[in-house]
């Protein structure tokens, strides 16, 4: 339990063990944040994964008898935030579950129970005593059911997954772990979870801009507080939601016999020598969820693969399928790689790159078996193409 404002408590669950969140690499674990507001009608906002129920209830009991809770607000159906509601209701028999219309559908499908839901829409309020909580639906940020809860009296926004980060810590506030680290984790979270939904994020931000808050309490990771921190965070979200990126390059590849690797390193050398920030991400050592975080930041991405059974390597194929769903926009890409006889897999890679929303910088660079020095030198011709794209607004 931790008091975060007068009569507002963090009572979530810290998942120290989590290393894989449906494919998203989480080396620092995560938290599922639940918030308890003490008022005439005590209210819990968000809850935790099913296996964190006991820990959450233990924390609630530090503050209040759980049977006194009148409302359990489910801002998002996904089971990392709602998976313990059935257990919770046994401890809080007087509580009503509050959710969006799509939340009611989703929770009913998950739990197969017809709970006495209180269904709310944008602009609806919930009187809990001294406070009047306001709701704002945020469809596709990041599920159809997603919504935010706002407490004007506390000046707190509870936006669920928006502004979250997968980061387990003994601390609760971004400034306690270092705001820079929290922003980095928020970027990774955005790239892996929120990236496809730029237009919906902008709509939600517009709604939030009419609210007066000095604290953002997301459902994962650290809490944001203070104008400077929040402004920096919102600016980042606006940038990402508009699909803007930085003048930097990400080279990601996998290689069978070091030939594609040699090409990747040549690209790296020539781009680095030109003074352009560039990252080399070998898919054998860099996790896909980190690669997409660099895709979020980079205006140009180079994708490399060897040909295996006439196809791109499975690591590259998986990355391309992931990116097809994440739909990055306003970015440029080039394919490259080494082959022995057939080049059909490169066509597939070029198609995948375009399907994921990238514009091709130019023709792919492909070399048969082992590249010689002259062939490597010819790869330098991509530099002016990259420079032109990075210079353009």
């Amino acid at each position: 339990m931790r008091k975060i404002k007068n009569d507002v408590y963090w009572v979530g669950y810290i998942d120290w063990d989590l290393r894989n969140f449906h494919g998203y690499d989480t080396p620092h674990g995560s938290t599922y944040n639940a918030y308890l507001i003490l008022d005439e009608k005590p209210t819990l906002i968000d809850s935790v994964k099913h296996y964190g129920a006991d820990e959450m209830i233990r924390r609630i009991k530090q503050v209040i008898d759980p049977s006194k809770i009148q409302y359990i607000i489910s801002n998002h159906t996904e089971m990392d935030h709602s998976g313990s509601i059935d257990v919770l209701l046994k401890h809080c028999p007087n509580a009503q579950v509050v959710c969006s219309p799509k939340g009611e559908e989703g929770l009913s499908r998950h739990f197969k129970k017809n709970w006495n839901f209180k269904v709310v829409n944008t602009g609806d309020t919930l009187d809990i005593g001294k406070r009047k909580l306001t709701f704002m639906l945020m469809p596709m940020v990041h599920w159809p059911d997603s919504m935010a809860t706002y407490s004007a009296e506390d000046k707190i926004l509870f936006p669920n997954d928006a502004f979250g980060q997968h980061y387990a810590s003994t601390e609760r506030f971004a400034d306690e772990i270092g705001v820079g680290l929290a922003y980095d984790e928020a970027a990774k979270y955005y790239a892996n979870i929120v990236l496809p939904f730029g237009s919906q994020v902008l709509k939600a931000l517009e709604g939030a801009s009419k609210m007066d808050f000095d604290m953002i309490c997301p459902s994962h990771g650290m809490i944001w507080r203070g104008k400077e921190q929040i402004t920096g965070l919102v600016q980042r979200y606006v940038k990402w939601a508009n699909y803007e990126s930085d003048a930097q390059v990400c080279i990601t590849y996998d290689s069978m016999w070091h030939s594609t690797e040699a090409m990747a390193k040549r690209f790296y050398e020539v781009i680095d020598m030109a003074g352009i920030p560039v990252k080399l991400m070998n898919l054998q050592t860099s996790h896909m969820s980190d690669v997409v975080t660099d895709v979020l930041k980079s205006k140009v991405v180079l994708f490399g693969t060897s040909m295996l059974n006439n196809r791109m390597l499975p690591t590259v194929g998986a990355l391309m399928m992931y990116l097809k769903g994440l739909k990055p926009k306003n970015r440029f890409a080039l394919s490259f790689g080494s082959y022995g006889w057939s080049m059909v897999g490169f066509k597939e890679l070029e198609t995948s790159i375009q399907d994921a929303g990238f514009e091709l910088l130019g023709e792919g660079k492909y070399i048969r078996f082992i590249p010689d020095q002259d062939e490597l030198a010819k790869l330098d011709s991509i530099l002016p193409l990259i420079q032109a794209k990075l210079a353009a607004k």
């Binding site: 799509k102 639906l137 469809p139 596709m140 159809p144 496809p196 939904f197 919906q200």
Partner: protein, 53 residues
């Protein structure tokens, strides 16, 4: 031509804009979109859309 709203995610199909990223030209009435078209935001089919009033 009428606008249609996706009842799952709130996406609005505007026939004046179409959905050029997915092969639907500006000026295409919702009724004339192929049946295999899906909501560009959430992926549900045409039957999950309703006329926007």
């Amino acid at each position: 031509m009428k606008k249609y709203e996706c009842t799952v995610c709130g996406y609005i199909y505007d026939p004046a804009i179409g959905d050029p990223d997915h092969g639907i030209k500006p000026g295409t009435a919702f009724e004339n979109i192929p049946n295999d078209w899906v909501c560009p935001d959430c992926g549900v089919g045409k039957s999950d859309f309703k006329v926007l009033n």
